[in-house]
Homo-oligomer: 340 residues x 2
């Protein structure tokens, strides 16, 4: 675990007493204003955040763990959160949650709030564009972090996520084995590691099978059920209309299926569709969705276990830990109709 | 807003100085152990919670608002939370979230955590069986509360929710106007005010139309998509099989529709189904779901606005504020087939 920045570090650097530093950080009038400003400026510079809770209660932990994800409306996160929660419950940690909606700023606000609250640790699905610095800010202030769902370059923080390129490879291979040759890829974005990896897995599977990867068979963007629903029309208008779609996630796949059904097509007969995540509702959808199990419960459980171990200063893994996905075949995929 | 319990209240009652009380609550060795225990016991007795943040920073607010609901996995709450969040963003409040899964104990832990953190206020969807005392605990410690989705007897705390009995009345009236006479009610529980109110609205509409309310046409319990899906079999086995189902919420309705479609039935033709909430996916479902718009965005917005007003000690409404629901007719309802 990173060494916590101590008051004495600041005191030594500025040639003042630790008591002065402590009072200055609390804005005490007992310290001259110029000194206060000098201390606060230096503290900011080296990334020190004044921990009120710790100041009043040096001996104990706060029992609070922060969790920040891009959007809790996504059932993928809800499933991860559920397993994080039951794991944290076991070690009597209270869990507080925030959304960053892929705003690095919002995420930083939350980390700073957690530091001020003296939270014991943080589990993050980092916002698009998160600099390594923001993760280090937490760690340097003795608040260990664990990443889920996405990685950040330049940090060795334990990160848990599914092996995305392998996963879309499984879905694409399955469609190819059924006899599909014209396969579209729908949803996701190149701005995230997940987006790049999932698309790469699809490309590689197509390449391996000697099938053409066409940029114009990619509809990037959609990540929700509504966006998948709206993408049905674009899919139907693709050049040399594909017979199958590898979707970014289950939400996009379910939305797309509903859109295609509304246009009078039958899924499994006219088109094959695969999802990703194996959400609870994938099995309930009509037709039941062929999808890739993404280990979200495992991701949550392992992330929480690792964070608790780090809080207790036990040794843990570092860096990226990939969970191996599995293909769950249901009714939304079948052999293509004979070529028209 | 309730008067905050002051250190001086405790000091006067025990005949010690406020400084002694303050030190005792911080477990300072400067106070004799017997005195410390006496102070802490009395403080607990009168419901005082030591606010570390406030102690170190009397003049400013923490900028933190707590939100606790039974289950953020429910998209109904996710939609409420989204509008709470955008409202709080506007007044620069950070928002931390917790689930209580209808455990009064978990909810109380969260309230106590919020008090210790010096949170400015709390928005709660109270757990089943929440005693008025638990809401008063927050208010007595100068942390104003606002309730959403459910009410609690014995408090005048502002509460925002839809008019549930009126809403299910709208759905039931609609089915009756289409010509249905045998209408089932599926999902929900009598343990919550929402459950009782929604069932009451259905009963009253049946009564008004002179139709028979049969206890054996009620399948209580289901609240999720999976439970709705599994209820399809029970629905098909109801005595004198009903031709329509008024469902507790959209999730149950969408699950039920999928279950019935899997059994070879056509929704809108063989059976009519109504939902409740008008979630984003109600319009995307196939067939598009006839449902009752429940004003969740409005609930979230008004709750957050009211909480911010209370934090700023501006006058606000008190007690229950009902939002009037609206029927959104889509494709899942139609006239029944001629009686077989």
């Amino acid at each position: 675990m990173a060494q916590k920045i101590k008051l004495s570090t600041i005191a030594e650097a500025l040639g003042v007493s630790t008591a002065t530093v402590s009072l200055a950080l609390r804005d005490s009038p007992l310290v001259a204003e110029t000194t206060r400003e000098r201390v606060k400026a230096y503290a900011r510079e080296i990334g020190y955040i004044y921990n009120r809770r710790a100041a009043s209660l040096r001996t104990s932990r706060s029992g609070i763990v922060g969790v920040v994800v891009h959007d809790i409306m996504n059932p993928f996160f809800a499933e991860i959160l559920k397993s994080i929660e039951s794991e944290l419950d076991r070690s009597k940690q209270t869990f507080i949650l925030s959304n960053h909606y892929d705003s690095v700023e919002k995420q930083r606000d939350f980390i700073e709030t957690l530091l001020q609250l003296g939270a014991d640790g943080v589990i993050m699905s980092p916002a698009i564009g998160t600099p390594a610095e923001d993760i280090k800010l937490a760690e340097r202030n003795a608040m260990p972090a664990v990443l889920i769902a996405r990685s950040v370059d330049g940090v060795s923080t334990p990160s848990f996520r599914g092996d995305d390129s392998f996963g879309t490879g499984l879905a694409t291979d399955h469609l190819i084995e059924l006899g599909h040759k014209r396969i579209a890829h729908i949803g996701g974005t190149d701005q995230t590691s997940t987006g790049r990896d999932r698309y790469a897995g699809y490309r590689q599977a197509m390449d391996r099978a000697g099938l053409k990867v066409r940029e114009d068979w990619r509809i990037s963007g959609p990540r929700t059920k509504l966006a998948g629903f709206e993408a049905a029309e674009a899919f139907l208008n693709l050049p040399d209309r594909p017979t199958a779609a590898v979707c970014w996630n289950d939400l996009v796949a379910i939305g797309l299926m509903n859109g295609l059904i509304r246009s009078g097509y039958s899924i499994g007969e006219d088109f094959s569709v695969t999802g990703y995540d194996d959400l609870q509702e994938a099995a309930i959808a009509t037709p039941a969705l062929t999808t890739v199990w993404n280990g979200q419960r495992e991701v949550g459980r392992m992330a929480a276990k690792t964070l608790v171990a780090r809080i207790n200063e036990h040794p843990t893994v570092t860096g990226l830990q990939l969970i191996s996905p599995e293909l769950h075949v249901r009714k939304s995929t079948a052999a293509p109709k004979p070529d028209r």
